[in-house]
Amino acid sequence: MADLKVTTFCVVTGASRGIGKEIAIQLAQKLGPNSSVQLVARNQQALEDTADKIRERVDGSVQVRCVAADLSNVESVTNANQEIFDNVKDISTFSHAILVHNAASLGDTSKYARELDDVDSLQKFCLLNMSGPISLTSAFFKVFGHGKDSLRKTVVQLTSDNGTTPYKTMHVYCMAKAGRDMFFRVMALEEPEVRILSYDPGAVDTDMFKQTLSSPDKDLVSTVGDISKQTYFLKPEQSAGALVKALEEDKYENATVVRAYDELGMKVD
């Protein structure tokens, strides 16, 4: 079991809605006094809403900061990577540092790979889903990496079965998940003291899920439509709850995919 009730520095990207919002709200409540939570996303107002919900539920000593940034814009990401850690004056005040890579996008699922030609949107996609999180991870280790042994570090990255199974019209999404999953497997080797949780949230009722319905691939659309009627179509709070549970239980193998369904004891292929 991991004791989350310690002074923690926590970052959650994509905390403005969907799974990220729920992760931020639920995780923040588990943290100890004087913790500092950084919420990162594009929509300032939505972030403030998440922040308010957290403040209603946590001890007054827990600080919540909103870092509004367009994570598909290079300048924004570069600035955000610094701003996120602006508040860290002395890392010894923290016992635990957690980085949650949740922000993601699907890419253009209305097209097949042969129709992809918009270089600009492909670069933005890579930035949001791959290079941004990679560079943020590096920045995280720069700040907390060389702390004394008692400073625990945890990196969570939201993945999907799309990282191992190809789907039509999910080209760049599958590609990014496969790349990220491997990146964090290398991180697990480079940083054996760090806990790395690759978390598959399951099929969750979010805007992103709805977007898959725009695919011209009839099989995908019918599968997706099917899923939305099942009991294993999760609400964001359920999926986030399972993630927090996994963090508390602390039994997961670094960078090996942990599925929400397994945490929830649901039998789903």
């Binding site: 042969r114 492909l122 760049v172 590609m175 496969a178 790349g179 991180m187 697990a188």
Partner: protein
């Protein structure tokens, strides 16, 4: 499933686009293709070194394969009349190792641009090439886009490595890039049932990259791994030849991955 046509893999008039052809494996594949294709062959070679590309072209011409080569051009897809070829090939070979001299925690603050450039070259470029290739050589002639027609053979080969499946210290970008590329080609194979897509893990090859990795890696575990690889490394010509033999047999499942040593057997230790 094999795409059994009456014509052998190397017999139709063909156009082959090969990236990273200015040296190493890309060059070896270009040369091997020139040897093996029996009919008209248009080789479209790309690479970062103009000089290297010219040398590749010169080697091909010097080997006396002049008769089968129409030209070597650097402007991809320009002026290629798709209707005149029976087989179009794309070899996504170009790749870079990334900075292996540092652990991720030691990357400097300008890492953002470096990571972006890395993914641009190793992941986005191959993706755009696939897209351009597929739209330039549509399945059937002109308007009739019947995706299951076998009017023209199309083959996409992606040069990959063990690093796509074996995480290695100080090679995070290389491993991530390879994993991403393989998945991209897997999705392509799924979307395009009329195309043959192969992820070819080239094995350890005696090239500048392998030497560079050994000299520069910050991880002793990785140095050990590379040293072992170098002991059983093959020449670029060898891996190119094995690839071509495998392509010719044409029995692989589209989207699958095959490793050099799966084909020729793992070398026995002395």
């Amino acid at each position: 499933m094999a795409n059994k046509t009456t014509e052998s893999f190397f017999d139709a008039p063909a156009v082959a686009i090969i990236t990273g052809a200015s040296r190493g494996i890309g060059r070896a594949i270009a040369i091997e293709f020139a040897k093996r294709f029996t009919n008209r062959l248009l080789l479209v070679l790309t690479g970062r070194s103009e000089k290297g590309l010219q040398e590749t072209a010169a080697k091909i011409r010097a080997d006396g394969d002049q008769g089968t080569i129409e030209g070597v051009i650097e402007d991809l897809f320009k002026g290629i009349a798709p209707g005149t070829y029976g087989h179009a090939l794309l070899v996504n070979n170009a790749a870079s190792s990334g900075d292996v001299s540092k652990y991720v925690r030691d990357w400097d603050t300008t890492a953002m641009k470096t990571i972006e450039n890395y993914l641009s070259f190793n992941v986005i470029s191959p993706l755009l090439l696939i897209s351009k290739f597929l739209s330039s050589f549509p399945n059937s002639k002109l308007d009739n886009l019947d995706r299951n027609s076998t009017t023209m053979r199309r083959t996409i080969v992606q040069l990959t490595s063990m690093s796509a499946v074996l995480p290695t210290e100080c090679m995070s970008l290389y491993c991530a890039g390879k994993a991403a590329r393989e998945m991209l080609h897997n999705v392509t194979a799924l979307e395009e049932p009329g195309i043959r897509v192969l992820n070819y893990a080239k094995g350890p090859v005696d090239t500048a990259m392998l030497n560079h990795l050994k000299e520069n890696t910050a991880s002793s575990k990785t140095t050990e791994l590379i040293t072992k690889s170098m002991e059983i490394a093959v020449s670029p010509e060898k891996t190119a030849s094995v690839l071509c033999g495998y392509l010719k047999q044409d029995e692989y499942e589209s989207g699958s991955r095959i490793d050099l040593f799966d084909i020729i057997g793992f070398p026995k230790s002395e």
